[in-house]
Symmetry: C2
Subunit: 182 residues, 2 copies
DNA sequence: TATATTATCGAACAATGTGTTCGGTAATAA
DNA sequence: TTATTACCGAACACATTGTTCGATAATATA
């Protein structure tokens, strides 16, 4: 990849995340992005078809980083053991709290539905692949897809609630809440 | 209210719901609405400040109707008893199924975040007022706001899942699913 | 019924945002 | 050194928004 391309791409991503921390996705215009990134209009469209594609690629980068780093740290088999103190969900909360990458800024926004959708989709893959470890007695009789969707939704909603309430709870505490309602 | 105002308002609501059943809220333009409703542009803006306010007023009308009709049918005290065959949630599912083709179309859309937000907000009021009846032993130790939010979110997500999967389950069945994960 | 009010029309308008085009320039790769 | 290609910047057509204004017709009121 051409060095110029890399620079331009990075500048756009940087400008975009900066703007996302200040306002909702739907309120951001291409004009603002290119002004903040200091690139030409045609250049933006040479890289990204639309604003939505830009968000999608940003999400892929963020979530790929997030979930991959998690997998690296937890290659042992009790990742999803609810009682394990180092359950994957606790580590997800911790990663989100030590938010290097401004994910939480995006989660707390009002009209960032697309972002949540992408986040949930990736999370769902993770949960689905480990569903057997998450199942309890009471879950018998439920379709797998329903259960997986429910767990993913509950996690996303828990994070949203946590952020919207100012992150008053510790990571282990909010993880407890999550496992309690699951 | 002037008869002309009523007619115009109804025509706009009708056109709007028709369009909403065909495409996402964000893709609908004021131009389409007024063409479909056959009213002037200035007339539209005399009634609604923006597209968003139109959606808000439509939601208020729909949900007011939905929740009020439910309250009327169930003034007895075990509305929220999980085991009661006529629990409020079962009736909510039934109301949604006998849908006048409006609410469910909106719930299934991709980018109808605002709609879901309004729906959840009204649902939350209902749940919050009856939270004690919904609490189980396992819920002890959770903040009320967290629990109420979780129940409301789970209901919304359950409905969404149900609709997205083609409403293959019966109302009582999907209600069972809901109570199982709650 | 006569009169005053007011909702609507229709057409035009500025303002903003989107996505594209094109020739010129400069960085990069070969 | 030469060919390629990413970028600039300016302009462009187009769509959408929200407003304005005088004329018209439906409605309320007396």
């Amino acid at each position: 990849m051409d060095r110029r391309q890399r620079k331009t791409r990075d500048a756009i991503f940087k400008a975009f995340t900066e703007l996302l921390s200040k306002k909702d996705f739907s309120a951001i215009t291409v004009g603002e992005i290119i002004e903040c990134a200091d690139v030409g209009r045609a250049t933006f469209y040479a890289h990204f078809e639309t604003k939505e594609f830009l968000l999608k690629e940003l999400c892929e980068e963020l979530f790929c980083h997030l979930f991959d780093s998690m997998k690296g740290e937890h290659s042992h088999h009790h990742i999803f053991n609810c009682n394990a103190p180092d359950s994957a969900f606790l580590h997800l909360f911790e990663h989100l709290e030590n938010n290097d990458n401004k994910i939480l800024d995006l989660l707390s926004g009002e009209n960032n539905g697309l972002f949540l959708q992408y986040f949930k989709k990736d999370l769902l893959h993770l949960i689905y692949s480990q569903l057997d470890n998450l199942k309890t007695e009471k879950h018998k009789g439920l379709p797998q897809e329903f259960l997986a969707n429910h767990i993913a939704s509950t996690f996303v909603e828990t994070v949203k609630w946590w952020v919207d309430n100012g992150k008053q709870e510790s990571c282990s505490q909010i993880t407890d809440y999550f496992f309690t309602v699951i």
